[in-house]
Symmetry: D3
Subunit: 307 residues, 6 copies
């Protein structure tokens, strides 16, 4: 079972301008082969399909709890996409009669890359990559063989790191850059964790391949505050009471990777403090939430008052 | 953010025999157009993309909290699939040298419908339908328009009910039937909830279309215990503290649908008690978790001891 | 614009038994690469996109009018699919309370190849091939170059003939065999027509490649009545008043292919007489049209009475 | 069976300039999830698969006859796409030696969104969305359950309306705007018709949800002439003699939706008068219809003369 | 550039009986995620896209030359598929008038899993998996980053080994088992080679993870003759003169993996001796090569005589 | 079996500037329906699946040997794509610390059409078309019927010629134009060869349809040097010793097509001389081959020295 908290794992700064192609770049991190839909779904189905759960508890718990974190990553990237497509909030736009729609008010949407994203989703995020292609089952690996699955996961996190780096190098808006910075730190933790799991089973020091690609997090300004708070050494359990056994893998005297701020690895019982979810003000002229939403707002207000 | 609890929403009885084609039937409820990947992803992305969240709080909270329940539905169906592919647990099979693999021990897998499910996933669940076709973005509707999205969700839950009924009529194993019975009750709650949301906004008594298809839950033996406990009148918040505003929609004097056991609708602060996750004993001859896993078990034991 | 007539191009005999895998074989002729969705859509979009329509009128009219016939072919195959999935009509089944659904009444559907066809469509036809894969745009050729398009169409009809022959060799039910027999005759006409169009433009006697594959229609019992009535020499305009210019290609002294009953090619102003559409009796236990449809029947009766 | 008439349902004004990205926007209305391929195919296959046709005649006839109208909608959008990709007609371009092709005469095509549309189709329409993704079977709903299918259709028309509105807000060319204006009026009729069908069966006033999105047709200049002629109150039978029973649903004292010009709903025996199909002058340098088409024109002339 | 030799890498024993579902199992090794289309295409495109080829020559040459071997693997599996679909050769069937096609001579094809494989390909191999799903670009990884690509390749070969083992455990025919046995040995070589490449760059002893899954080749009877000839220690250059630099990776004192017959790794200048390609006798009644092919045979004979 | 030679079939001039959208145009010739993946795969699988190989040797050998040439075409286009995405070589960029990545150094990639091509492949070629859609099995025709397959191949080469012409008309860079010029000549040879094969079997002078589209190679400057050397009259065996029987089809007194430089057709025992493969200098800031590759270069140097 899963519970939901109405917060993001980290707070995103508001976008400085509407930039649908930059939002599309973030979509690569959402629905691309190495995006969050992939990491999430790989671990989610691996955890469902895990054999001999009780006898392999530390490995099962590792995959199961990282899954919960990945749900929050998917949420973070999706929020970034929607924010960049929407642009800075505009209180004025959030009500009224929707405005005159006959003057091609969205002519700018004609030339963006993911035009269908405006027509179909009004700028919302969906599980597609930066070219609008759907995420799908070909991106799910769950073989039932623990070594093959963990090896796949290690490679997946390295590939994901490469993609995040390239998206980071492409975007300028602080919203998008924050998404990349945060995910680079957390993705590095996951790569490290899967490497340690493999090391425990096979005896191979595969964590010595990290960082791959060969660039330290320290080179990326947006990672600094997360490194400073020790995020690169923390694995959250993302569960009130379960998955304690991951401490057998993430801990046990293992330390941060060379090049990152030093210190011991630690398992955190809960979750990060997180930040508030951005308000996406409506755009009535795009029928989001609708053309003339005041009545709807009024109804919602009354319903809320009854609670 | 999301948290994870190491339990299922309801406990599934163990399968009586291995039945890959029956597992494939359940896959329709996982990765088909009206399956759990669809309900989950529609509400997940709608909640990410929701405009004017604070002004439309009851509607946002409804979509957001049902999302969390759908994650557990996906988990439930996936567990059912893996259990049916695996068959009754066999302690003896869970260790040793994997056995002789040269005598075509899996010749039975040659003629099953989802052969790739054995070759690639060792019988695990993946986001495909009963013919092995991948779930994809064409099954996600998130328009940003609140009425269109809610209307879509209402139709989706009705379609899902129809599919669940047909799968139910096809399967014989108690594992599969329990999955269907539980989901039919909970799916009816979601259809009802979206209908009430629409009624509040548009004034149309669309909940009077329920049940669609036109058959009461009372006709289905596997639904009885859930009806008896009032599950059809309960909407769980699936959150420690958030989404209270759904009580403005689910409550307010609204009652159970005619034909179902009567009573007032109620919001439950937490989540259902749930049941334990089934152990999937390994099949070393199928390399799950591996060919000779004893050493791996030993390592896991030591790691667990360190926690 | 298109008009619709509530008849099939030829009448199909009722199926002798329910046979979902035989229905699935027919699906290859509906949604396969060389199926009716492909022939239809190729000609439909070619006719929309045709350049210099007035200057190339006979060629435009040929493509445009064959399109209308293909719509009826799609209808014919689809009816065959639905009839074979449904089985012989059963008046008794068409009403009542739907019956007891808790005894796995559709357990037989568990092992059919297109299980999703039962779960999602209740046995109805959809644009997929015999393995359930969707027809899609990769099967549409509309280059705008008249010679390339006509050459493609000629090859497409030859390929379609091969596929129809193989499906014919696989099926035993009279419904399915009639579909194949009728389409083999009409497909041969289309191959012949495109060959004559190419011959007029390029001077190459490409119709001398026919029949491809190298077997005369005379070998196929189900084709005899259509040959006897001269169907292989007729091209219907499928339009009240348009597309007369096709007589410049199909006619002009051209005669039937060697091996087929001899005679001159002729353009028919209207359409074939056609046959009645099969009634598909409902299966309330499969929720088609619904679980307890009597009230619906009553309403329909009253509405009809008002007309 | 279907007949074809060589006219469009309404006449489209010629484009003012070539605009491939605007044509791509129209593709969303052709091959997008809520596009004409979807509305057409949903109703087409539902009509093929309809159970108990004679007992549910008004509902069957409604779906069957709207199908015929949708074919014409597909034709209308496709013509719009081809016209916008082609630009204003240029008599001079329609013959000759094709011109010098070595100077990158189509360099402008390098940066358009649907580049494959030029390379493969020479600017013709195909069943893809505004990002070039193929329409496919995941967009077909035909469950065999009449209430679920009608509810789906109602939701589909509402979603289609939203998409048409957003495309309308994006395009400036009169060709594209006329396509949107016409389809908005006709789509509203279809939403209204399905709502009335549902109301007859279920008793729920679901038509009171209309218009969704919440904006009257009166706000859209391009809709005015169609409203003035009463198009919003007319349902065409699109058949010489069949489908009369739809008058039981569309009629019976029902009136136009509030906000639209008032009046009774009426069934029209035939079809709209329609308008001429635009000539798409060839572009020999793009090999449409070919590089040096004069000889082809000459041959066509002679063949036409023989008819 | 590539050259072609009209031989297989190893000779396949003829099939004992026609077995389309066993052929379908082999398709997983052809078009599945870890099949030969994937290994081939990953290395093919990586070799095309390789940066700094001259400075990284041993690594480039490794990927480039293994590509050539993979082409032969694809050929081997494809031959196996076609042989199993065809069954034992039947000289008598190879000519004549094709036989009577009206008695449903291929009724057996109705119930096979890949029915489209018979209808469309007459039993030939195509790039799809064991459920008929197409191989596609989502299965290609070519990041341009040498470490990520090599790590991916190592994981791919381990996954491919797992899939080959499961297919091996499912099939009984000597043709299919020989395909698996040969590919298991050669796949192990490739896994080993990529591990050594990674070891050279990163210093990590990743080859110590082998074999994964954890079962020695010695357990598989069909591997014995290849082990005996030392195939597990040989890397072929598959080039007349190029790619010598691979000896820097495969060689240099490295030895066979523990558990396999011991010895030094060696680079072979040429290619394996190979075996003859199986004659696939025609099935005229299935129109392969055609219905009455004698005339075609006669023509071919004359053309050959002219050479 | 296949051998590999470390050369291209013809040498490509270096690109004058980086132009990702021009590279994307070339992708149409790689992964589009009529691209090199299609020609290659059609002939490759047809050659695997060919029935009665010995009795139809000239036809088998024709398909089998052209396959080998197509592999080189795929390589040529892929090299062109990678070169255009990379731009002119820059020695300076090929080493060092990768540079500062925090200043959005790849902001230009945000607006290109195939953004995923940069994020996922660092500008490398993959089997997708100019809109990023994957090549797939729907583009493979291998029916087992020799006439249908050859007819398909003839049409495929004509279609491919049309696509190459349109891409040629769109690109300006000498790298891209050289790719088109070379492939136009070689594609014409293949169309001619398949036409002659069909003529031999059916007696139809189908080669008289050539050239289609109706423009001589002489109009294209980039084709001149290849015409001058007689490439349009040469069919290479691309095999050390096999496939000699193609001389029965390509030869026998057949001559060049009218409009091209005259002369007899000739089979060449070997392969063209070819040209060197372009060095793709690394872009460490894009992590190709990695961020700081000097150490990797050093290791490669030492490994090479050992050979």
């Amino acid at each position: 079972m899963f519970l939901r908290i109405d917060k993001l794992q980290t707070e995103l700064p508001p976008p400085k301008r509407q930039d649908p192609n930059e939002a599309a770049a973030l979509q690569e991190l959402l629905g691309g082969k190495y995006g969050e839909m992939s990491t999430l779904s790989n671990y989610l189905f691996q955890s469902f399909n895990f054999r001999s759960k009780s006898k392999l508890r530390p490995f099962y718990s590792l995959v199961a709890s990282i899954t919960a974190e990945e749900l929050g990553h998917l949420e973070l990237v999706s929020n970034g996409v929607a924010m960049l497509n929407n642009g800075p909030d505009s209180e004025a736009d959030d009500a009224g009669d929707g405005g005159d729609i006959s003057g091609a008010p969205f002519a700018d949407m004609k030339d963006i890359r993911l035009a269908a994203g405006f027509f179909s989703h009004g700028g919302g995020a969906v599980p597609v990559n930066s070219n609008g292609l759907s995420w799908n089952n070909d991106m799910v690996t769950t073989t039932g063989n623990v070594v093959v699955d963990l090896l796949h996961n290690f490679h997946l996190e390295c590939g994901a790191r490469l993609h995040k780096l390239r998206v980071y190098e492409t975007v300028k808006d602080p919203t998008a850059r924050e998404v990349c910075g945060y995910l680079l730190v957390r993705g590095s933790v996951h790569a490290h964790a899967y490497a340690l799991a493999l090391k425990n089973i096979t005896g191979v020091d595969i964590h010595k391949m990290l960082p791959t690609p060969n660039i330290p997090l320290g080179n990326i300004p947006e990672c600094q505050k997360y490194l400073a708070e020790g995020s690169h050494r923390r694995l959250y359990r993302f569960s009130p009471n379960d998955y304690e056994e991951i401490a057998g893998i993430w801990g046990n005297g293992e330390t941060a990777l060379p090049g990152d701020p030093p210190g011991e690895l630690e398992v955190i019982a809960g979750m990060p403090e997180g930040g508030k979810i951005h308000q996406l003000t409506g755009v009535p002229s795009a029928f989001t939430p609708d053309y003339a939403p005041e009545e709807m707002f009024e109804i919602a207000k009354k319903l809320t008052a009854k609670v």
